[in-house]
C-alpha cells in the first residue's frame, strides 16, 4: 500500500521537472562541428576538388558503402565518380579518419530522410561542397611530390628544386 502511494507520488513529481524534450523540428538542437552526420566532399583552398581518389575511405568503411574510380587530369588525381550509399552508411566516421587529404568530412546535418531508398545514393555532384569544410588551409598537393597545374616540381613544402643531372658537384 505504502509502496503504491510512493510510486504515484514520484510519478506526479515528474510533472514538475524541467522538460528535456526538444521541440524538433521547430527547435534545433546545437550539434558540435565534429558531430557525425551527412558526409560531404570538400575542396582545396584554391577551389579544386580535394579528393585524390586514393580509395582509403572506401576500404576503411565497415559497411562498404563508398565506391569511386580514379581518373587523372594534368597529373592531378581525382574521382571520376564518387558514390556513397547512405541507406547503408552507419556514420561511424572511419572514412573521415582514413582520408589523407581532409576531403571527406562528416557534418552536423542529419536531416536526410527520404521516402525512396534509391534517393539515398549520393553521387559526387551531391557530395561536393564549395568550401574546405572543417580544415581550412590544407592542400594535399602542396605537400605531395607530384606536380600539378600551379605547382611545379620541386616547389612543394620542404622541397628542393629538381636535381641537375649534369652536375657532378657534391
Amino acid at each position: 500500500m505504502l509502496d503504491t502511494l510512493r510510486t504515484l507520488f514520484l510519478t506526479a513529481l515528474h510533472a514538475f521537472h524541467r522538460r528535456a524534450t526538444v521541440q524538433y523540428p521547430e527547435q534545433k538542437p546545437y550539434l558540435p562541428p565534429r558531430y557525425r552526420g551527412r558526409i560531404i566532399l570538400s575542396r582545396d583552398p584554391d577551389g579544386a576538388e580535394r579528393c585524390v581518389a586514393c580509395n582509403l575511405c572506401a576500404v576503411a568503411c565497415p559497411v562498404d558503402c563508398i565506391s569511386l574510380q580514379k581518373t587523372e587530369a594534368d597529373g592531378r588525381w581525382y574521382p571520376e565518380y564518387f558514390r556513397i550509399n547512405f541507406s547503408r552508411c552507419i556514420f561511424c566516421g572511419f572514412c573521415e579518419e582514413a582520408c589523407p587529404t581532409y576531403a571527406i568530412q562528416l557534418t552536423p546535418d542529419f536531416e536526410m530522410g527520404e521516402y525512396a531508398r534509391p534517393n539515398l545514393v549520393y553521387e559526387k555532384e551531391d557530395l561536393l561542397i564549395s568550401g574546405s569544410g572543417k580544415y581550412p588551409g590544407y592542400s594535399f598537393y602542396h605537400v605531395a611530390g607530384i606536380p600539378v597545374p600551379g605547382k611545379a616540381r620541386g616547389t612543394s613544402e620542404r622541397e628542393r628544386p629538381p636535381v641537375d643531372l649534369h652536375s657532378l658537384l657534391p
Binding site: D64, T71, T101, V121, A144, I146, R160, V163
Partner: protein, 908 residues
C-alpha cells in the same frame, strides 16, 4: 639439408642460399630491397641487416647483411636483436628522408614493398625537418610511367634491365644521393621486358601506365589465375578486374615457365578486351548492314540457316581447347577444320611429331636457362616466343656460373659472378636470316636464307652423327662453321636446339630435330624446342582436323551451307581473293568471336564470345603443357564463352539431327572436359591441368576477391539500391566474392594473387613458394601432355630431304616475314598501348640494296608501297616484310617482285 638457428628457433634449410633467403623460407619477416630471387644479391641497400654469432658461446656477434652471407651448417643468427632492429629502422628512416608524401596518389600504394618494409621496421614518424630532393621525370613510352622522386636507389631496375634483360637504354646517372634511374633522354623503353620494371622496382618509380588510366587498388580487384594468350610459350599470369572490367595483367610465378617475368606483349596486350573493337551483342547482316539483334533472334536465324544443310566448323589456334572441341562435337570430325592453311597445319603437325619422337629432353623454359650450348636455328625467338628468348639470354651465362663454382663464389653473389664472367665465352649460336635481339650475347651469328640455314643444320647433324645424311656442296666456311657448332654442342653437358615455324620451313625444324636427335645418342639431356605461333597451336595440332584448303574445295563444290567460324580471322590465313571466294561460295557465315576482326564485317551472323578474362578454358603451350585460365570478369549477357555459344547453336537445331552427341547436355566446363577426354584420350590429362569446379579447400570455395574489397553495398547501387547476389561462377572453384578460402598452400593453378600479411606487394610470393625460386607450396601447375620417349638404342631415323641452296634471282626477291614483337600478333594489336608501341611497317633490304626511300613490293594481294630500311647482314636477294602488317595474310616466305617507286626511280 642443414639447419640454422634464428632467434633461438632451429630451422631446417638448405645450403647454397644466403641467409636472407633462408630467413624468408623459414617464415621470418626480414626486410630487404635490393635482393631479388632472379637477380641475386649485391648488398646495396643494407636493409637486411641481422646479427650473426660465431658459435653458441658467442654473445656479441656482429651485424651482417643477410643477403650477402651464405648459409652454413649451424649458423646462429638473430633478426630480433635490438641493434639489428635499430640498424634496419635507421636505414628505412634514411631512405624516407627524401621520400615524397605521395602514397595516396601513388599507383604502388597498397602493394608497395617500401610501405611494407617501413611498417615492418616500425618507422612511423618523420624526424628529418630539412628539404627533400626532387627529380624530373621522363616519358618512357606507352607502357611504363616514371616518378623518380620515389626512388630509394636499390639498383634493382638497372640490374634487371641491363644485366638480365640485355637492355641498354635505361641507366643510372648523376652522383651521390642524386642518382637518377632513367634514360639518357625521354623516349620509349626499347627492351621487350620493360614492363617487368613495374614489379621489380620495390617502389612506385616505375608503374603500369595503361593500368594507371583505369586504376584500382590491389585490395579492390578480383584476381584470377590466367595464361597469356599472345604466344605459344604459355606464361602464367594473374588478371585483375574491378566493376567487371579487366584492369591489368600481372606475372604469375610458374617455376618451369615464366617464373618472375613476362614480356611486354603479354603484360600489355590485354587491352583488346576493353577496346572499342569488342563485340558486345549478336549482329545480323540485313541488306548488307549489320544490326544488333537479341540472342534468341540470333539463334533462330542460325536454325533457319542450318535447316537441312551441312554445317562446317572452323576452329582457331587462338581459341581454348574447350571451344575448339565443342565445335568438333557440333559438326563432327569430317567437317571440323583447324582454321589453318595446309602449310601452317603441316608445320604445326610436324613440330608435334618431331617433339613426340625426340629421344632427348623437351626442356621447359626454365630448364633452357641452364643449357650450356644453344643453337637457334632459323627462328627469331625474341619476337615469336619472347620469354623463351629471355631464357636463352641467361643460358649464355652458363660458363660464368661454372667459373664461379670453380672459384667457390655462390651463384647468387651477382656482382662477383658477373665480374668473373665478363670474359667467359657464351655457348649461344644464332643462325637466322635477320638480326635478332640475342645477337649481342651470341658466341657466333650467321645470316643466311632459311634453306641455307637448314642445310647448315643438316651439316651439323652429320658432323655429330655420321649416320645422318651429309650435305653436298657446302661452302667451305659453312662447313667450318658447322664443324665448330657441332663441336660446341657435343662438348656440352646440356645442349639445346631451338627452331620453329616462323619461316614456314619444315626443313628447318627437321634439321633442328636431326641435330637434337644426333646429340641425344651421347647426351640424353640434349633438348629440342620448337616455337609455334599461337597460344593453342599445340592443342589444336593434337586434336587435328581439315585444312582451310579442304574447306575451300568443299565450298567450291557447293557442299557447305553454313560455316561456323570460332575466334578466327581468316583474313590472317588466306589471301583476300581466297577469302572472297569462300564467302561467296557459302550461303551463310557465322562468326563467334570477341573482337570485330575484318572477317566479322562480312559475316551473316556474329555472336559475341567472351575473351580470356571472361571465361575459363584450357590452352596447350608449345611445350605441350595444358594450362587452365580462369574467369575474372563476369560480362553482361549475351557475351558468353565460345563453347557455350556453340552449345546454344546446337540446342537451336532440330533435336533429331545426327551429330552433336552429348553437346547439348553439358552444364559446365568440367562436363566439356570429360567429354573431351573421352573423345581424345591423348588430351585426357588436360582435365587435370587444374582442379575442377568442385574443388574445395577446408570445405570452402576459394575467394577471388581480397579479404578487404571495398564498395560491396554501393558499387551497383546506381542500378539498384538493393544488394545484388555475387555473380555465379559454375566453371571454376572460385567464389566471385570475398567469401572463401585463401592461403599460401592452395593449389598453384588456383593462385589468384599474392598477399600474405605483412607482405602486401608482389614480393608476398615468397610465402607461396616451397623454396624461393623453387616449386610452389601448392604443387605443380598445368600438366605436360608430351612426355619424353626416352633413350632407345635403335638407329635414329634422320630426315633426308635436304633443301637446295637459296639462289639469288635477278627479277624477284625472297620475301621473308619479319615477325614483330609488337605488330605481328593479332590480339595485342587491338590493345591501345601495344598499338602505340608498334612501329610503322617498313621493308628490310640488304644494306647494298636499300637505295631509295620507298619501294613497291608485289605480294599475293597486290602491290604495297613501303619505306625501305637497310638491315645489316641480311643476305642478298632477301627482303624482310613485317608479318601480317602489310598484307594481312603474309606470314610465310614467298618469291615476289620488288620495284622502285615509279616516280622516285628516276631521281634516285
Amino acid at each position: 639439408m642443414t639447419s640454422i638457428r634464428i632467434d633461438g628457433r632451429d630451422c631446417p634449410t638448405r645450403t647454397g642460399i644466403n641467409l636472407l633467403q633462408a630467413c624468408l623460407e623459414a617464415g621470418a619477416s626480414l626486410p630487404y630491397f635490393c635482393w631479388h630471387p632472379e637477380l641475386g644479391s649485391v648488398g646495396a641497400c643494407r636493409q637486411c641487416a641481422i646479427r650473426q654469432f660465431s658459435g653458441p658461446d658467442d654473445t656479441k656477434g656482429r651485424i651482417v647483411m643477410a643477403c650477402m652471407t651464405p648459409v652454413s651448417e649451424n649458423t646462429i643468427i638473430s633478426i630480433d636483436d635490438p641493434e639489428a632492429r635499430d640498424f634496419r629502422a635507421s636505414i628505412i628512416e634514411w631512405m624516407m628522408v627524401n621520400h615524397p608524401h605521395d602514397c595516396p596518389v601513388c599507383e604502388e600504394g597498397g602493394e608497395c614493398h617500401l610501405q611494407d618494409m617501413t611498417v615492418m621496421t616500425g618507422h612511423d614518424t618523420r624526424r628529418y625537418r630539412f628539404t627533400k630532393r626532387t627529380h624530373r621525370n621522363q616519358d618512357l613510352g606507352p607502357f611504363v610511367k616514371h616518378e623518380m622522386n620515389r626512388c630509394i636507389a636499390c639498383y634493382r631496375c638497372v640490374r634487371f634491365y641491363r644485366d638480365y634483360a640485355g637492355g641498354d637504354d635505361l641507366a643510372v646517372f648523376a652522383s651521390h644521393d642524386n642518382v637518377y634511374f632513367g634514360r639518357a633522354e625521354d623516349g620509349t623503353l626499347q627492351n621487350a621486358f620493360s614492363g617487368n620494371l613495374v614489379e621489380i622496382c620495390p617502389t612506385g618509380v616505375f608503374t603500369d601506365k595503361p593500368f594507371s588510366a583505369t586504376y584500382a587498388r590491389k585490395w579492390d580487384m578480383r584476381g584470377a589465375p590466367s595464361v597469356c594468350v599472345h604466344c605459344a610459350v604459355g606464361c602464367n599470369t594473374i588478371v585483375n578486374a574491378r566493376e567487371e572490367t579487366l584492369r591489368r595483367v600481372l606475372n604469375r610465378y610458374h617455376e618451369d615457365i615464366n617464373r618472375y617475368l613476362l614480356c611486354d606483349r603479354g603484360r600489355f596486350g590485354h587491352g583488346f578486351v576493353n577496346a572499342p573493337t569488342r563485340i558486345r551483342t549478336p549482329l545480323r547482316a540485313i541488306d548488307g548492314q549489320q544490326a544488333a539483334i537479341p540472342m534468341t533472334d540470333a539463334l533462330q536465324a542460325f536454325a533457319r540457316m542450318a535447316a537441312g544443310g551441312r554445317i562446317v566448323g572452323i576452329a582457331s589456334p587462338r581459341a581454348a581447347l574447350e571451344t575448339c572441341f565443342s565445335l568438333h562435337a557440333l559438326v563432327g570430325p569430317q567437317h571440323f577444320c583447324t582454321g589453318q592453311t595446309r602449310h601452317e597445319q603441316e608445320c604445326v603437325e610436324l613440330a608435334h611429331a618431331l617433339l613426340t619422337r625426340h629421344p632427348g629432353a623437351l626442356p621447359t623454359i626454365h630448364e633452357m636457362e641452364s643449357a650450356d650450348a644453344v643453337l637457334v636455328l632459323g627462328e627469331d625467338v625474341c619476337a615469336t616466343a619472347p620469354r623463351l628468348g629471355l631464357s636463352l639470354r641467361q643460358s649464355a651465362r652458363q660458363a660464368s656460373f661454372h667459373t664461379a663454382d670453380d672459384a667457390r663464389v655462390p651463384r647468387w653473389m651477382d656482382a662477383a659472378v658477373r665480374t668473373l664472367g665478363a670474359q667467359c665465352p657464351s655457348g649461344l649460336y644464332v643462325l637466322t636470316p635477320a638480326p635478332t635481339d640475342l645477337d649481342d650475347v651470341a658466341a657466333q651469328t650467321r645470316r643466311a636464307a632459311p634453306d641455307d640455314i637448314a642445310r647448315l643444320g643438316f651439316a651439323i647433324a652429320h658432323e655429330i652423327d655420321p649416320a645422318a645424311p651429309a650435305v653436298t656442296d657446302l661452302a667451305a666456311d659453312d662447313a667450318r662453321l658447322a664443324a665448330r657448332i657441332a663441336h660446341a654442342l657435343v662438348a656440352a653437358g646440356k645442349p639445346l636446339v631451338v627452331s620453329g615455324m616462323q619461316y614456314g620451313s619444315p626443313a628447318l625444324m627437321q634439321a633442328a630435330a636431326s641435330i637434337a636427335t644426333a646429340l641425344a645418342r651421347a647426351t640424353p639431356a640434349a633438348g629440342l624446342s620448337l616455337v609455334l605461333p599461337e597460344c593453342n597451336s599445340m592443342g589444336l595440332a593434337m586434336m587435328g582436323g581439315l585444312s582451310l584448303e579442304t574447306v575451300m574445295e568443299q565450298a567450291r563444290a557447293g557442299a557447305i551451307s553454313v560455316l561456323v567460324i570460332v575466334e578466327n580471322d581468316l583474313t590472317r590465313h588466306l589471301p583476300p581473293a581466297d577469302v572472297a571466294e569462300l564467302l561467296a561460295a557459302v550461303p551463310d557465315i557465322v562468326v563467334i568471336d570477341h573482337t570485330a576482326t575484318p572477317l566479322c564485317r562480312q559475316a551473316s551472323l556474329v555472336l559475341p564470345a567472351s575473351a580470356f578474362s571472361e571465361c575459363s578454358g584450357t590452352l596447350v603451350s608449345q611445350e605441350g603443357r595444358a594450362q587452365r585460365f580462369f574467369q575474372a570478369v563476369f560480362p553482361p549477357a549475351p557475351i558468353q564463352a565460345g563453347w557455350r555459344w556453340v552449345q546454344a547453336l546446337a540446342r537451336s537445331l532440330d533435336p533429331s539431327a545426327p551429330h552433336m552427341t552429348g553437346l547439348t547436355v553439358w552444364r559446365d566446363l568440367d562436363d566439356v572436359l570429360s567429354a573431351l577426354a573421352q573423345a581424345f584420350p591423348h588430351l585426357a590429362p588436360a582435365v587435370r591441368a587444374a582442379p575442377g569446379a568442385d574443388y574445395r579447400m577446408n570445405g570452402q570455395k576459394l575467394r577471388s576477391q581480397t579479404y578487404r574489397a571495398s564498395g560491396r553495398t554501393v558499387i551497383r547501387s546506381f542500378v539498384n539500391v538493393r544488394d545484388q547476389p555475387p555473380p555465379r561462377s559454375p566453371d571454376t572453384p572460385f567464389s566471385s566474392s570475398m567469401e572463401g578460402a585463401y592461403g599460401p598452400d592452395m593449389p598453384a593453378a588456383l593462385v589468384s594473387g599474392y598477399q600474405a600479411s605483412p607482405w602486401n606487394s608482389v614480393q608476398a610470393l615468397n610465402r607461396f613458394q616451397h623454396e624461393i625460386g623453387g616449386p610452389m607450396r601448392g604443387g605443380e601447375c598445368g600438366i605436360r601432355l608430351l612426355s619424353r620417349v626416352g633413350h632407345s638404342d635403335a638407329k635414329p631415323a634422320y630426315a633426308t630431304d635436304i633443301p637446295r641452296p637459296h639462289l639469288v634471282q635477278a627479277d624477284t626477291v625472297l620475301v621473308l616475314p619479319d615477325t614483330r614483337l609488337f605488330g605481328s600478333e593479332e590480339l595485342s594489336m587491338f590493345s591501345p598501348s601495344v598499338m602505340a608501341r608498334a612501329t610503322a611497317p617498313a621493308l628490310g633490304l640488304p644494306a647494298g640494296m636499300a637505295a631509295t626511300g620507298r619501294m613497291v613490293l608485289h605480294l599475293d594481294d597486290g602491290p604495297h608501297m613501303l619505306p625501305v630500311e637497310p638491315v645489316p647482314g641480311l643476305p642478298e636477294g632477301i627482303a624482310l616484310c613485317p608479318a601480317h602488317m602489310v598484307a594481312r595474310a603474309f606470314r610465310f616466305p614467298r618469291m615476289a617482285r620488288l620495284e622502285r617507286m615509279p616516280d622516285e626511280g628516276g631521281r634516285s
